[in-house]
Symmetry: C2
Subunit: 156 residues, 2 copies
DNA sequence: TATTAAATGGAAATTATTACCATAACGAAA
DNA sequence: TTTCGTTATGGTAATAATTTCCATTTAATA
């Protein structure tokens, strides 16, 4: 089994447990959305509309509101992260593992998104919080600018 | 003259120069909004609506769209910064000085906003950008959690 | 002062997201 | 399996922030 498939199974387990604990229901729609999101969007940052349009191709009966609701559900149980890159629409990405916390560099020119992780930054932030007696729960960090491709294209 | 007044004059100069350069017009409304923003919102993070409501008290003829347009103008010439703290509405703060670059900690409980600056984080980000051949233009960094007051209130 | 370009205010349009509601589907119990 | 209370769904309407439109006003400058 591929690493992606293993991760998908782990997320499925978390999701099922959350549904059981909260006495929610397991539905066809949730299964479809789960499958699409965790099969095709690992490492991506997808818009609700993009995901909806993609799913609709194979499952035309799925409603827009359900996709919104299901992504929110994924958030609640910690298997998806919401991202906001300043274009006014929320993006979602499957959580890969608790240890794979990361941030993003966004190219203002082409819109491509690059990921990065940095332990030094993380420990800085923890220190800053501690110093201010602030109990950190989450943080957001994005770098905006020009990616190397667009930089090259500009000088060419 | 107080430091706040000096800063206000410096921003005014930048604004006037920008208006001259771009052949824009100096209007009563822009003066009013400038004055309100740089007199009463230094160190604050004000919503368009808040600023509009505040101005309307003394200048009932000012239009909503004009406040939006003028804040955008302040952004363009670099005398205001836009902030987004995840509540769906943009906030603006007067730029204090080019050297006073800073970030924010937002309390999820009481909504208070705390500012911080950290050279180590800044140089980390520059290094990360350089390593990825990314030409950094801006970055956003926010810490969310519980402020010390709210933490204390919770255990009490 | 006359001319031209830009700005204004109010309202309408736009856009992402949420709420509503009548109907359908789920799941535990009988 | 049938029943029954609860939850989910899909379509649409509502909401909320921001932008656009446009007829009118105003500023700049010759
Ligand atoms: Mn990512
Ligand atoms: Mn600030
Ligand atoms: Zn690029
Ligand atoms: Zn607080």
């Amino acid at each position: 089994m591929t690493p992606v498939a293993i991760r998908k199974m782990e997320r499925r387990k978390t999701f099922n447990e959350y549904i059981a604990k909260k006495r929610l229901k397991s539905t066809k729609q949730r299964d479809i959305i789960f499958d699409e999101f965790f099969s095709n969007y690992m490492g991506k940052h997808v818009t609700v509309e993009e995901l909806y349009e993609d799913i609709k191709k194979r499952h035309p009966f799925i409603g827009f509101a359900t996709v919104y609701r299901t992504l929110k559900l994924f958030m609640e149980c910690g298997i998806a992260s919401e991202r906001n890159f300043g274009d006014g629409k929320a993006r979602y990405e499957p959580v890969r593992s608790e240890r794979e916390h990361h941030h993003h560099m966004i190219c203002n020119q082409c819109g491509k998104i690059y990921e990065f992780a940095n332990n030094q930054v993380e420990s800085c932030l923890n220190q800053i919080a501690k110093l201010n007696e602030f109990q950190l729960t989450t943080h957001k960090l994005e770098i905006y600018g020009l990616c190397s491709d667009c930089k090259a294209a500009k000088t060419a």
